[in-house]
Symmetry: C2
Subunit: 328 residues, 2 copies
């Protein structure tokens, strides 16, 4: 019989946020620590244990935690480890599920942050009742969580759903952190928006723009947004460009799994219609005729801070003690 609470932990590159969540998805209490403060992953988990134990005690939840779910970059649902190529200060692979499970003596399940967000949205947010949707996270990078027939797609090895790494520009595309060129996330992430602004500023030297008032290398996606809102034509065009590429990509994703909706999540969605209008136009234009007018593009309904914790926590209900979810 399951206990009344689960813990959700979202490990980000900067902050680790954790919360105690009940069966209806209410966050009882939450707190956070700095991800990069500790020199070793063992010390990091010690600190997490100390802070989380405090939170559990203060909220009278001792002995009432059913399991822990963790969302972390490159975390593998099948193996419970954080794999290589990730922006964390410790050597990989990190056997995260096992380490946290042993520390807390609780069952632990992990998945990557975008998958956790998809689970959160399906359980508590804009994807409630949807059985086929694709979550796209537009942050520093572009992540995704794919749900088909009500189930998250993990694939053969647990790494499915890396839609930020489809190639959208085959020749001379931007260099991606994955080592290849032309990946979607080099264009449609916050980083990509800033890069596009820099390229537009250089390619259109005669055109005035508010963005020329700051050092070009310090331009952020927020600066581009502020400039566009202030009526800056070049900044506006940056969002047109970004939305167009994203719409083309979503049209291609549609032929794969025929989702009822895409759910967008993350910092860039705060740009609202600046990106959403060109995105929807481009999606409709590029969809196969049979899907035109039928694929929804929705915005996340979860507070960004809550979504990852809630999504991760949902895994806590099914977490098993062996740290390896039974696949077959």
């Amino acid at each position: 019989m399951s206990k009344p609470y689960v813990v959700g932990i979202d490990i980000g590159g900067t902050n680790t946020v954790f919360g105690i969540v009940d069966a209806r998805g209410a966050v009882l209490a939450s707190s956070s620590i700095k991800t990069r403060k500790q020199p070793t992953v063992e010390a990091y988990i010690d600190e997490l244990y100390t802070e989380l134990t405090k939170l559990i005690e203060v909220n009278d939840a001792v002995g009432k935690i059913n399991g822990i779910g963790i969302g972390a970059p490159n975390a593998n649902y099948y193996t419970g480890t954080i794999e290589q190529g990730v922006n964390l200060p410790w050597p990989t692979p990190i056997p995260l599920a096992q380490m946290v499970s042993e520390k807390f003596n609780l069952p632990v399940a992990v998945t990557n942050d975008a998958n956790a967000a998809a689970i959160g949205e399906m359980t508590y947010g804009a994807a409630r009742g949807l059985r086929d949707f694709i979550m796209i996270t537009l942050g520093t990078g572009v992540g995704s969580g794919i749900v088909i027939n009500g189930q998250l797609v993990y694939g053969h090895d647990g790494f499915a759903g890396e839609l930020g790494h489809v190639t959208v520009k085959r020749n001379n595309g931007r260099l991606c952190g994955c080592g290849r060129r032309g990946c979607l996330e080099t264009y449609c992430s916050a980083t990509g928006v800033a890069q596009t602004a820099r390229e537009f500023l250089e390619a259109r030297p005669g055109e005035p723009s508010i963005l020329r008032e700051m050092p070009i290398d310090e331009i952020t996606s927020k600066d581009v947004y502020d400039a566009a809102v202030a009526g800056d034509k070049l900044a506006h065009d940056v969002f047109e460009f970004t939305g167009k590429i994203l719409g083309e990509a979503l049209a291609d994703f549609t032929v794969f799994s025929a989702p009822e909706a895409f759910i967008l999540f993350g910092g860039l969605t705060k740009s609202g219609e600046l990106i959403m209008r060109p995105l929807r136009d481009s999606l409709e234009k590029n969809l196969m005729p049979l899907w035109r007018g039928k694929v929804k593009v929705l915005l996340s309904e979860l507070k960004e801070a809550d979504a990852a914790v809630l999504g991760a926590s949902a895994l806590g209900w099914e977490a098993k003690f062996n740290n390896l979810p039974q696949r077959y």
Copy 2:
């Protein structure tokens, strides 16, 4: 309690092949009729009924058929209908499952031909034991059947898995039958190979080629194959070009569902290493580093004539009388 046999029907643009199949996947007997001979779909189903009834009687299978599975272009698993935009001589939509079910008084389930091939391969062929794979059919067009966690992906509306229609050339791509430009199937189908040969012949006017001995508009993929086997450089380059594009596409598909393998099926696979070597090279080069060396590319193990009938027949075991498979 299920009866010992099912019937599989593969409706192609030219021929309709049908067979009686037992639980181990042995084709007891099969036959065919011309798909386009009859002026109405009713007359077509009448002829199918007459011929199939003969086959059932001759093989002592009267009263022993559990259900009928049908693979047909643009057939929708959820609705049981053949939808618009299909190369058949009758008005669409065609309520195929209902019509055949009423005629035979047997439960009927339908799916598109590529999905049927995927089911056939999973049940009896190269995908036995695989829970995550993608079937790619390389025929007149390019079709696909996606299997995730052991289940065929139908998507929200039953039309998932149209991977022949991802856009591989964003600008000035070839016009596709779907009305858009640059779809994979305009390059990597038999038709696409012939078109590439024509383009190469025009773009490289000084270069000798066996293919120049025939009228350019009559060149088929078989001609290109024969020329390549005979040592023709230009024909060889056509397969290099085709394999490269297909490999790039498969690398993109991998980020979606992380399949253990791609299974290739259809006429173009007869080109063997001519297309497989550039395909594998291109796939490896374009895969995200984490998947390099890990994604298999296999050839179908089913006889082309059997695969579609076997795959369709597998649906006959689960067919229900209401013609609408229960989804939830």
